[in-house]
Amino acid sequence: MFSIEVLGLLLSATIQAGTPILLATLGEIITEKGGILNLGVEGMMAMGAFMAFLGTYLTHNPWAGFVLGGMGACFLAFLHGVVCLIFRGNQVVSGLAITVLGLGLANFLGTPYVGIKTVGFDKLDLPLLKDIPFLGEVFFKQDVLVYFSLLLAPVLYLLFEKTRFGLRLKAVGENPYAARARGIKVFFYQWVALLSGAFLVGVAGSYLSLAYTHVWTNGLTAGRGWIAVALVIFAFWRPFRAIWGAYLFGGVMALQLRIQALGSNISSSLLLMLPYLLTIGVLLLACFKKKGLDAPAHLGLNIEPKD
């Protein structure tokens, strides 16, 4: 039953399922590099998904949806920033509140549109590359957001490791007081990290409503935001490892759908549980590899004003 074509389809589905998780994970990595813990990913993703749908539905242009989706998440991130960066509120509590708010807002605003279809990002075959046997089928007959997410990982790697911005951002996340003593405007970097990270989380949401499906339903995110939060730890805050992590989850999601479709007699509830079980699994794995403790040292802590 597992012919090479089936495998190809499965891998292709893996990438589609993994892409939103990858985008959200990369977004959260940027934010956390700046020392900000954002547990609102799930809510921001839902908000992004809805705003992207709405933007596309109204303009018939998926790129308008793309931008609006990112902006939707940025709006929630802005609230998070006001609470945590300006008023130095608790980042965990604020993040959780934003998840609840984002999920609620998306459901509330989206109710009239449930079941409505819209245009979205269609498959965009890359010339020449698509003709590579097998790999072309898996990787190069995807939609534009897949290519975007795959390009993003090396771009972020270069940003963190080779640029002035990256060096300073990491310094802020590790020890904002040391960074401030060197004349770095720590809050500027934190706001940039928070908002740009949130934009990507919003784009991850857009992927769900514009590429993964072309229709609006409630509860589209289904815990993917939480998986992204866990994956950041699994990826040790490194963009390339995020790719493997996200596709691992994509694979399990695609596989369980496949097994369900084959009419296996394993309960579907158990199969649906698989990605979340895997989340716990990878977190344990990351703990066993002690290097997983590479979290930015000042993650989740507020910066005291100077006297």
């Binding site: 002035r164 060096l167 300073r168 310094a171 004349g183 590479d294 006297d307």
Partner: protein, 494 residues
Amino acid sequence: MKMNPLVSLRNISKSYGSVRANDKINLDIYPGQILALLGENGAGKSTLMSILAGKSLPDEGEIYYQGQRVFLTSEKDSLALGIGMVYQHFMLIEEMQVWENIALGQEEGFWVRKNKIKEKIKDLIAQYDFTLDVDARVKDLSMGEKQRVEILKLLYQDSKILILDEPTSVLTPQETEKLFAGLRKMAREGRAVIFISHKLEEVLEISDEVAILRKGQIVDRVATRDIASPKELALKMVGREVLLDLKPREIEPKEEVLKLENVWGEKLKNINLSLRRGEILALVGVAGNGQQELVEIITGLKRKYQGKVWLFGEEARLFFDSPKSRDYLAYIPEDRLGMATCPELVLTENFLLTLRHHFQKGPLVDYKGAERDLWSKIEEFKIKTPGTHLKARQLSGGNLQKLVLAREFRREPKLIIAEQPTQGLDIGAMQEVWKLLLKAREKAGILLISGDLGEALSLADRIAVIFAGEIVTTFSSRDGEKVAQIGFFMAGGK
């Protein structure tokens, strides 16, 4: 031959609550000079310099840079003028590499040009004869190396005024020599070096001029070569005659409170000790010879060892399970901020840490009562603080230590384990702590672990020397012959 000052501070004042840390200070800083700021803890040295470094804002006063009035509202402003400071608590990013720490904030352009930056740093390292691996992660460095990273940060951006806050407190004597050589070179190049310290000998050795601060004011400024004796300097610093010889009168020792019989541990080898109420036993030795393990065993922090430990005639295990353990034994740890106190808790809460059971009202804690009690202790122990709502980390070292002593003595312990009780304290605070310990001796037996021989000899009735986990010898501090040989014992001689 006086040149124009590079920086002039005029009428600088700064208060924290009701404590006036700086009171109308005037100070000129000249290029090519090493200026020592000498003063007790809390005299306002660090405050004054953090104002110059842009870290704190003065309440009043003006700052002139080459005659021009400037406003230093952030570290960035000061750095731009070439004023940089090496803080006592290093401002380094532990996870990052040495070169990244040094270049941070000074990188140019979009891309970080790693090789070029590293070359420049290596040149500086060679120029000042530092030894340092630019690729090492800061967390793997020794304190001395970390300090060099801090200094290189300033040299990398060609700072003209370098401020060092108590730089030698973390250094070995050899490292101190190297640092001094580097500082002299910097002064020869025309930089101004400001050296904050409370150690007299050091100040005399390194500085060209000394400015003495006391209670937020500059009481004197003298050229170092005109100073006749360190004693004169000390007098100016504390404003009262220093009692360097306390000569404790002997007390008749009472019952035995601590006894160790053939105790073996990871480092310890066959330790036998006995301590009575009314005496101070000083355990001296080079750090790392098993002192820490011994303290951990006696205080019950470590329960894996061979042999017998008796506390107040009871076996240690039984003692720690009995209600007596609440008050009979007091421990004054070396690590004041972290082990003795919680840095982020306010003073009242820190006061309650070991006194909870004294302030119980049913299931509740009597905060009001504790606060009243703390106030009386603040007066009794002369702790300088604007209030009880301050966090422990906001107190200076000496005042924090006095708080810890006040708290522990409040329990009226019969056995006190005091670990390096005056480390990092200035002479004034040191004297006060010594007097408090001598007073406590009347009611308790004190085991003093000290790296400072002068301290051990001034306070102790008996001295035990530890080397490589063994008690080499124990003798009375009045035994002149043995006392003369301490150095020999500390190196393992018998």
